[in-house]
């Protein structure tokens, strides 16, 4: 699923995050999927997605450099495909 910087996303209400050394575990109680957020910055971005700010604004808030944003968008696309995050 393609996620763009202007999209507004939120963490799915059935998803819980568990902090880990490497980032976080994300568990979706509804579809029973488990995902690994393999970088603390990705966790910070996901936590910054409040439905109000855009993905790009969440990147700004966390301080994700321009060069890393394509990889973060891909990661959010994967999270979106497994319904961990969804459109606000």
């Amino acid at each position: 699923m393609v996620v763009r910087t202007e999209d507004r996303l939120v963490l799915h209400p059935d998803v819980a995050l568990r902090p880990e050394r490497f980032g976080a575990l994300a568990y979706h109680f509804g579809n029973r999927r488990l995902s690994f957020l393999k970088h603390p910055d990705l966790v910070a971005v996901v936590e910054a997605l409040d439905g109000e700010r855009t993905v790009g604004e969440a990147f700004d808030r966390v301080g994700v450099a321009e060069s890393r944003r394509p990889a973060f968008l891909t990661a959010l696309g994967t999270l979106s495909a497994s319904e961990m995050v969804r459109a606000a």
């Binding site: 490497f22 029973r32 488990l34 690994f36 990705l42 990889a71």
Partner: protein
Amino acid sequence: MPPEVVHQPPAATRPLVDEFRLGLDAPICLTWELTYACNLSCSHCLSSSGRRDPRELSTEECFAVVDELQRLQVFYVNLGGGEPMLRPDFFPIVEYAIDHQVGVKFSTNGTFLDRDAARRLAAMDYLDVQISLDGATAAVNDAVRGAGAHRASLQAMEHLADAGFGAFKVSVVVTRENVDELDDLRALAESFGAQLRVTRLRPSGRGADTWDRLRPTQAQQRQLYAWLLGRDDVLTGDSFFHLSAFGEALPGLNLCGAGRVVFLIDTVGEVYACPFVIHDEFLAGNVRDPGGFTDVWRSSELFASLREPGSEGACTSCGSYDACQGGCMASKFFVGLDLDDPDPECVLGNAEELLDRVGAGVGAHGAPVPRPTADHSRPGVAVPSPVTLRPTRRTRP
């Protein structure tokens, strides 16, 4: 079982598999055998179930375990047994877990999953059911699980489908006898709107007595590997990572999670490294200990040792170690190999010479072959098998 989905995000600080090898602060998930009571006597039962253990955890103690899981954010638990539905407090325990942010998947032989139970289960969120079935036909299934077991599993599947449960799981232990039925088993699961899950046969519990006859042949292992490749709709619980030595890695973690990301709580609260090693040597503590299983998980010397880089032993010279990680600890242990020996089902045949040296209760290196610590088999109840079994040992009530 380890997770089915791995998410690949922006550059990680360290490969995830290394994080898991070091062990997490809390497990990802666990197996919890709620009771050793079972109406069946499957010949490969990895917990040698049959009779209820009078010391099994009380309802209140089960609730306390759930509370601990919730505190640690362990998101889901695989309930099993024995037959977990035989516990009179089965539904209260399941409901308590779900109400405390601990998702439940439970394994059942289906006997007690009647229309009412199916409706009750279908009404619950965050619950998954796994019906055990070891053959598409009654002949193949019942040879392992006992007369009538096939009919009971199918009836439960029908009840779940009728109740609109959704995609439950049909769980198959792959054997020499059913490996040719995998397409049929998948079709059968799909006909009930269910998903097929296949796992590896281990020489654990009563399986110690039947493993050598039921395990897939080398040719069948290759057939299974080819069948699994690209079949992402079939779940495996990361069970078959030893097959990755054939070439391309199968999806999943390809890592032994014992004491690192998973563990087992048994009926009486004993904490073992994984569901397949119910043996004193892999006993890390008890949930009734002060500090509960949180302390066991974080402080047990056994778990600490499992998280240390393992010795590759005899596998050092093999170019496939990175693919198979030396295979399954439990399988080695219960057939009388050392833990740094190759997996007894090593697809490159590296264990065959060692297995030839195992005989009459003596392992490949001269030590006795370990027997499962506890046997809850019901006295006088025949274990289904076309072969003659040696008498099972009973060391506990």
